[in-house]
Amino acid sequence: MEVIQLDKARNTNFLKEVEAESGQKLSTCYQCGNCTAGCPGGEFYDRQVSQIMRAAQLGLKEEALGNRSLWLCLACSTCSARCPNEIDVAGVMETLRSMARREGYVNDRPIESFWKAFLDMVSMNGRTFEAGVMADYMLRTGRGWSNLAMAPAALAKGKMPFFPHRIKGRKEVARIFKRYAEKRS
């Protein structure tokens, strides 16, 4: 660990961005830790939610964005529901995750690959289709083989059709993705 030169390391613009994008006022957080206490993913995190909130409060961008926890957040909103200061903590986490992606804090994380696989499927067909998503995801990451163990059971129960249902308006859906991609670039 190193000593943080707090006066120099702080990036108040970063704090303002987080507040603007999430619509939450971080100065109301008094660090009671209730978000950490109730977080089902906490035990797998490398930095706890309340610590991420603290980092954002202080404007420490690296500490707030450069962690695995953002990608493990289950979006279950337990933290938001129990926050005594009515902060939508899950919303802040989502904001930080989105910022982390934009700022290049994440490359090739499996979860992002899964999301991409999922959304590509939606973009192509208008709906998702599990077998396709899985195959795409495994191809992208070389991971997820543990899921294969589940496949026979799912297949046996007829729960995994091999072909996607393509909707009539799939081009319309594809245009949503296209505009989104254009806007981002």
């Binding site: 109301t28 008094y30 660090q31 009671c32 830790g33 209730n34 978000c35 950490t36 206490a37 109730g38 977080c39 906490g42 035990e43 930095r47 706890q48 309340s50 610590q51 337990t78 129990r82 926050c83 005594p84 200061n85 009515e86």
Partner: protein, 657 residues
């Protein structure tokens, strides 16, 4: 008129953002202004002296001070001008601090605004008239509402000062919350042992009339002369006959009723005396659970009562008392913590409140001082205390700190170790607030000597589970924010430090007393710093937690302070009434009675003047609200110091096309 203007710098408080010299200079242009100056601290002794000198030197007959809020120093300056021989009501203030210098930094705009506010004040002053207070008698008796430790202290001090006291207590016994406590912090002395001598004093002091199991029905009148109606709720027992022998309690067959004195831990009989040292030590029947009163079948207590005190046909009685002052000491109640689903919403039997835990610790409690958890009687080895339950929690609309929970939790952790030496206590806290004498040392003792583990973080949820041995445990899921980790503790018993709010019914009482209260049921003091015991209603004082959270010593201090205020009030042979009240121009009054209709105080009566009906103001009753003034179409009734012409002068000064 010859008006003098004094513009105060208030050090740099005003001067920094207002050009006071320019304001003074400008005001010399105003009608009737013959003198104007700026001064450093107008309220200081030299400042006041300079006003007196200027009045004499320039033959002033009216003064305007432009400084702070009149709510701050109007009384001060009225005395100053009076010293110089001017009627105190020939004085006006322009508030150029709270309303100008402190709320903006634009010096030009502030200077202009200040000059206008001075104009406003001097235009009003030109319409002022000398006013003279009336004198009236005082009933030298005091009503104390609430028989907790603050009310007891206030009553005893007043009685010591020779004042007759009427004490009204809602429940059947005095002692309040303190009577329920086992020990008190930071001395760990026995709560009831400290309190009992005082409650006994109340019952034996011939200056104190105690109405227990009674409530305030209504209060009318004004400072020095209140009329109080008290509802003596039916106890179904003639207390003049009851000796407190307890035979009825022994024989009462309705035994399974929740015990209010024990905070619902344990049960009690339908006829009972709340606890052994209760004052008055008289039995009360609770009609909702009494078999005789509910179903008409039973009557055992009447049969066994040796003095024939049981009266099933007793009804509520309303009595009237005359008093000159009122002290409210109605204390607090715990907030409704059952709205907190994450802590079991009150449905988990071994999740108890701090007050319930006091009863579990108390030798006079349902477990006779042995800590047994309510569900199965198990002696807990692992006890978790959770702080700030319903305190500092904006999400449920309770942003404030309940003040004394940190301390009593430390005390309870210490007592837990005393009772069960092999136990381990954990306290989840956010901050420890222990600023009293020997308080912080006390919390340190809990940690250092008694091994209590303090964990900095809130608890997210309490979830019951079944241990391999079949015993129910409570998984307390929290965070240690210092460690930066979620933590879990498998507890036998969980104690919640539940936040407090004004006592139930506080708002309704405040309406009767015409005092302000906040959204949490705490009464508003007259000034947060300088008048913490007074209210904005003359003659009504506050003591104890009803005004805001405080611990026992502070409640006792405030009880004494309220008593001192009452004694000071009663030390005067007569009281002076505020002359800022309504008066009737009898020539203009047509006797239509609209003022009588709207007056909130029944302070206006119809009289006959040469055969015609006219309105007449009862000076001692009128409070000067001016509602009549705004209602009277011909302006025949005016409220002194805020007459139509005075307000019109202000409007006209500001708005001239």
């Amino acid at each position: 008129m010859r008006i003098g203007i004094f513009v105060c710098h208030c050090g740099s408080n005003i001067e920094a953002t207002v050009n006071t010299a320019a304001v003074a200079k400008k005001s010399l242009e105003y009608p009737d202004v013959v003198f104007a100056t700026d001064t450093m601290y107008t309220c200081s002794e030299p400042g006041q002296d300079s006003i007196v000198e200027a009045i004499k030197e320039h033959q002033l007959d009216g003064v305007v001070v432009a400084s702070c809020s009149p709510r701050m120093h109007e009384a001060t300056f009225r005395r100053t001008v009076q010293r110089a021989g001017i009627n105190p009501y020939m004085f006006e203030m322009a508030n150029i601090r709270e309303h100008v210098s402190w709320i903006g930094k634009d010096k030009d705009a502030n200077t202009n605004k200040s000059a206008e506010l001075v104009l406003l004040a001097s235009e009003k002053l030109r319409n002022n008239r000398p006013l003279f207070p009336q004198q009236f008698d005082v009933t030298k008796r005091v009503l104390v509402i609430g028989g907790g430790v603050a009310g007891i202290q206030a009553a005893l001090d007043c009685a010591d000062g020779g004042i007759d006291v009427v004490m009204v207590e809602k429940t059947a016994t005095i002692g309040g919350k303190m009577a329920k406590l086992d020990k008190t912090f930071p001395t760990i002395d026995c709560s009831s042992c400290v309190l009992s001598p005082k409650t006994v004093d109340v019952s034996q002091n011939e200056k104190i009339t105690l109405h227990a199991y009674s409530e305030i029905e209504s209060i009318s009148g004004f400072v020095g002369n209140f009329t109080v109606k008290i509802r003596k709720k039916s106890t179904y027992v003639d207390w003049t006959l009851c000796t407190g022998c307890g035979s009825c309690i022994e024989k009462c067959p309705s035994k399974k009723n929740p015990d209010a004195f024990n905070e619902g831990i344990g049960t009690t009989t339908a006829i009972n005396i709340p606890y052994p040292q209760a004052i008055p030590k008289k039995a009360t029947i609770y009609a909702d659970v009494c078999r005789k009163l509910r179903d008409g079948k039973c009557g055992v207590c009447a049969k066994v009562c040796p003095t024939g005190a049981i009266k099933y046909d007793m009804v509520d009685e309303i009595i009237e008392e005359q008093v000159g002052a009122v002290i409210t000491a109605t204390g607090y109640d715990q907030m409704d913590w059952t709205q907190l689903g994450e802590y079991g919403a009150g449905k988990l039997p071994d999740v108890v409140t701090g007050l319930q835990y006091e009863r579990l610790l108390s030798a006079s409690g349902p477990t006779e001082g042995h800590i047994k958890r309510p569900s199965d009687g198990l002696e807990p080895k692992s006890v978790v205390f959770i702080q700030c339950v319903g305190s500092r929690d904006k999400s449920i609309g309770r942003p404030y700190c309940s003040g004394f929970c940190c301390m009593y939790t430390a005390k309870q952790a210490i007592l837990t170790k005393d009772h069960v030496p092999e136990s381990q206590s954990y306290v989840f806290y956010m901050d420890i607030r222990a600023p009293g004498k020997m308080y912080d040392e006390f919390t340190r003792r809990a940690m250092e000597e008694y091994g209590t583990e303090y964990i900095r973080g809130r608890v997210s949820t309490i979830q019951p589970h079944i241990r391999p041995d079949g015993v129910v445990g409570y998984m307390v899921r929290g965070a240690d924010t210092l460690l930066g980790q979620p933590v879990e503790i498998d507890a036998d018993l969980v104690v919640l430090a539940v936040g407090v709010e004004g006592a139930q019914g506080a708002a309704q009482l405040a309406e009767k007393l015409r005092i302000s209260y906040d959204q949490y049921g705490f009464f508003m003091e007259s000034h947060p710093k300088l008048k913490p015991v007074e209210t904005n209603t003359a003659g009504v004082y506050l003591a104890g937690v009803c005004q805001g959270v405080k611990d026992i010593p502070t409640s006792v201090s405030q009880g004494s302070a309220a008593a001192a205020k009452v004694m000071a009030l009663f030390s005067k042979p007569k009281l002076q009434s505020d002359p800022q009240i309504a008066f009737v121009d009898i020539k203009r009054c047509i006797g239509c009675g609209k003022c009588i209709t709207v007056c909130p105080y029944q302070a206006i009566k119809e009289v006959s003047f040469r055969g015609a009906p006219k309105a007449e103001v009862v000076g001692t009753v009128c409070q000067g609200c001016g509602l009549c003034n705004a209602t009277c179409p011909q302006g025949a009734i005016q409220v002194a110091h805020f007459t139509d012409n005075q307000l019109l002068a202000e409007v006209n000064a500001l708005c001239q096309f």
